[in-house]
Symmetry: C2
Subunit: 506 residues, 2 copies
């Protein structure tokens, strides 16, 4: 899509003046990233801050993105014959504490209900931080023989983790929305295969819907899910903060939870066997990553595939011009695009100037703006402006559907390409401790040869502790560069076993 | 749809023997309704009891019904330009206590979080029993001028009401799923109109989807939503227990909450005005009402429109018969029906007899069963059996799609018609106290002329107190019979103002 610049009538000059009085952000993305983020999620009307710290209101502009991703993912897992269910919000202390490593991982963040009305409960009741310990006693009940397997459940729900570290909208909140899948298989092979099938769906959410490049990989022993066997992840990276961010995780739980909850079955040979389990989840965090990756100093930038509004049509009336004719042309354009399945609205409010509207819809990140003024009407054309790169192009009204469709596809691809370029530019190979520390200070996404020992990871954490937070492993990418024999671990000097991504993280 | 009975080959005789060893219910609907209900929701795999009283697991067989209703309702409210959002689960005591009548209505049932990990919270935090007090402070922030109105939000979420009265799956549980709509308008007229538009959607859920007849009406002052102006309702009735059940409610809140949360706006004349508000909700209770109304001594009976599985195809192999041919015919039938949008599966498990499968799918309430045996194969026909009335019919394989579609429609209609006949047969007009008490003892749905005074309703409650629970108003039906002048209230002897439905209720 060529960025065809063309001169604009006097109407434009006037608009730009109004724009100055508009709705800008007070912080710039490259100068003060944290403040910029907090401002953009509020000004774009995605988030409202709430009077309980770490809890946020998801406004319709954010919720619609969640719903679009949900529709995709829910349809995909239904094809895999995974069924939705709903387990209670509440957990008894006995159930919660069944798996020791697991409860240690979550205990400090668990919220406890101790009263109802004015009465104390006999036993305090926990609010689910995740549902392994809620569900698995029932897996034990429902699974008897090999014909009851696989058992594949999912639920869409809220969970609560009462964290005290710096809360951030979408990224780190005390309550969040997610899906959690919980499955049980007769064999490890089936469980292993599903872990990757689900991880591929998470990749598609990030790359195909949110236009965010991710790295698929495995978490270190130290970073894996508490109580599980191994954890796979899709990892994203935020260049401005120089931090990795765990996008979504698909865990193989092995047989550890099965042992605790006694999930046995009679296999085909009539023997008693234990199931293999997975759990996997993605959360509303996805939306925060999208804001961080694509947003700019004008506000939010929405990838067309997740934008509840893909095109905004704005009349640009001018004195003595045929205002009604312009509005009619806007409405006709909306009708034409709607019929082709494009999500489009006209902003025909008469109490805001076109310039104010431009800023408003730029703040909200709508991928394409269509302007129709007197000259456009006369020339039977519309002016289309891209949110991602500001490119303007005049297109004949006759071909508006095809060209808008093309442009939405181009924007989706461009957002991904730009994000990938920026992410790739941050990758830095570090083979020695000095190189590692230098790259960390430069906010790089560090790829380093590693001995893969938990003690060494703990040591790196201890040695890099500071105001910005310690460095840790992000993941061992599935796609491993060559590791020549004799390569040493950057941190321990022992023989390296894998390449691993390291960095600070959210 | 004729209930064409036809003789069955010896294969059938064999099946019926096996059936005896099957999966029956130990309680009968007409003999021990409460026990029957608890058994059917568990045996049909809708519900699993949980280790916290009043909390239940919604298994996929129940969840799929919820999802079908959700898809319908969500699409309808989106047409009305109502937007989905998500507000936090938690409420501060200050917000909760803002509206006095409202908090009095909910306070005894509120669950309180007082600890996180091992630490006490500074201030206890409530779990939402409903979200008026969570949302409306933000309505005040977001609404400035008349152009911000109407504001129309909805959320799909869980709420908690820690009730101590008899918990019942779906019907009365401490946590349940619902949608809650919250809207604000410039004028009472707009609010009034929306109340009824939403109530009509609730009617459609019950009558068109769940095949349950309801009565639209208004709640008495005593029974209306705490803090609201008036409450409209769709009321159902359960003949076996002789109890009314509130199906879903659409409230006009008037300006009471607006006053407490200071939701003002500048109207078109530039004056300061206060908004008019509504809230409305339906819950997973809908599913329980469906079980109660349609279920029978063989188990659940699902209306086709909400059945995640509308047709089950079962091979009926017989020794020396072409088993593979039969299974292929089953699979071909599934393929044909699936292509026409019918939700269908084949049960080709080889470790269960056909008879066992019949009982199993009858227990689960699947509307139609298709049997294919050697004789069917030879005659190029299938045997179709209706779950609602047991009618059997042989239909040519060639016309299976059209006939199955017809039968599903017929079942949906028949379930509604039968339910309506049974409900109507319970209606009893009572003009005097004696008639009222007699009808109440006979578990009738009582229609009585009433003075519409709150004190009289309280008095009726007091006078009818007992093991079964007191009688109360269910609703004043919108469709009022003629009330001749001089008609007296059945309870107070004062002049009657309205006809009202009375009875015991859930």
């Amino acid at each position: 899509m060529a960025s065809k610049e063309s001169k604009r009538s006097t109407a434009k000059g006037k608009k730009e003046v109004k724009k100055e009085t508009g709705l800008g952000l007070t912080h710039k993305k490259d100068e003060n990233f944290g403040e910029w983020y907090s401002e953009v999620v509020v000004n774009a009307e995605m988030i409202e801050y709430y009077d309980i710290s770490g809890c946020y209101i998801l406004r319709p502009w954010a919720m619609s993105i969640w719903e679009i991703m949900q529709k995709f993912f829910d349809a995909e897992i239904k094809k895999m014959n995974i069924k939705n269910c709903y387990f209670p919000l509440f957990v008894t202390p006995a159930a919660l504490q069944k798996e020791k490593d697991h409860v240690e991982g979550f205990a400090p963040e668990v919220a406890w209900v101790t009263k109802s009305g004015d009465s104390d409960l006999e036993v305090p009741i926990a609010i689910r931080p995740t549902s392994e310990t809620v569900m698995y006693p029932f897996f034990s009940k429902w699974i008897r023989g090999h014909r009851d397997l696989p058992l594949k459940l999912n639920q869409w729900c809220n969970v609560v983790r009462w964290e005290f570290s710096n809360p951030t909208p979408f990224i780190r909140s005390r309550e969040f929305l997610w899906q959690e899948g919980h499955t049980a298989f007769a064999t490890k092979e089936e469980a292993d295969a599903e872990v990757l099938d689900i991880l591929e769906l998470y990749r598609r959410i990030y790359e195909e819907y949110l236009a965010i490049p991710i790295t698929k990989g495995k978490k270190s022993e130290h970073e894996k899910f508490a109580g599980g066997l191994y954890t796979t992840t899709v990892e994203a990276f935020i260049p401005q903060s120089g931090r990795g961010i765990q996008g979504a995780t698909s865990h193989c739980l092995g047989q550890n939870f099965a042992k605790m909850s006694e999930i046995y079955f009679e296999n085909e040979k009539g023997e008693r066997a234990m199931v293999w389990q997975n759990s996997w989840a993605y959360t509303t965090r996805t939306i925060g990553v999208m804001v961080m990756v694509h947003g700019d100093d004008k506000g939010l930038v929405l990838p067309p595939k997740v934008a509840s509004l893909q095109v905004i049509v704005i009349p640009v009336p001018y004195k003595d011009a045929d205002t009604q004719g312009i509005i009619d042309a806007c409405l006709a354009t909306v009708e034409k695009l709607t019929k082709s399945g494009i999500r489009v609205e006209a902003d025909i409010r008469d109490n805001y100037s076109p310039g104010w509207k431009y800023s408003n819809w730029e703040m909200k990140g709508v991928p394409l703006r269509i302007e129709i003024g007197p000259k456009d009407l006369a020339n039977k054309q519309v002016r289309v402006v891209r949110r991602d790169n500001g490119a303007k192009i005049d297109i004949p009204m006759d071909s508006v559907v095809e060209q808008v469709e093309d442009m939405l596809r181009a924007i989706q691809q461009n957002l991904f390409d730009i994000a990938k370029q920026k992410r790739d530019a941050c990758v830095q190979v570090a083979k020695t401790w000095d190189e590692f520390v230098k790259a960390l200070n430069e906010k790089k996404l560090i790829l380093a040869p590693w001995c893969d020992e938990e003690e060494v990871e703990k040591d790196v954490k201890a040695r890099t502790k500071g105001d910005m937070g310690a460095a840790k492993t992000l993941c061992c990418p599935f796609d491993q560069p060559e590791l020549p024999e004799g390569t040493l671990c950057f941190a321990s000097g022992k023989p390296a076993k894998v390449w691993s991504y390291w960095g600070r993280s959210y």
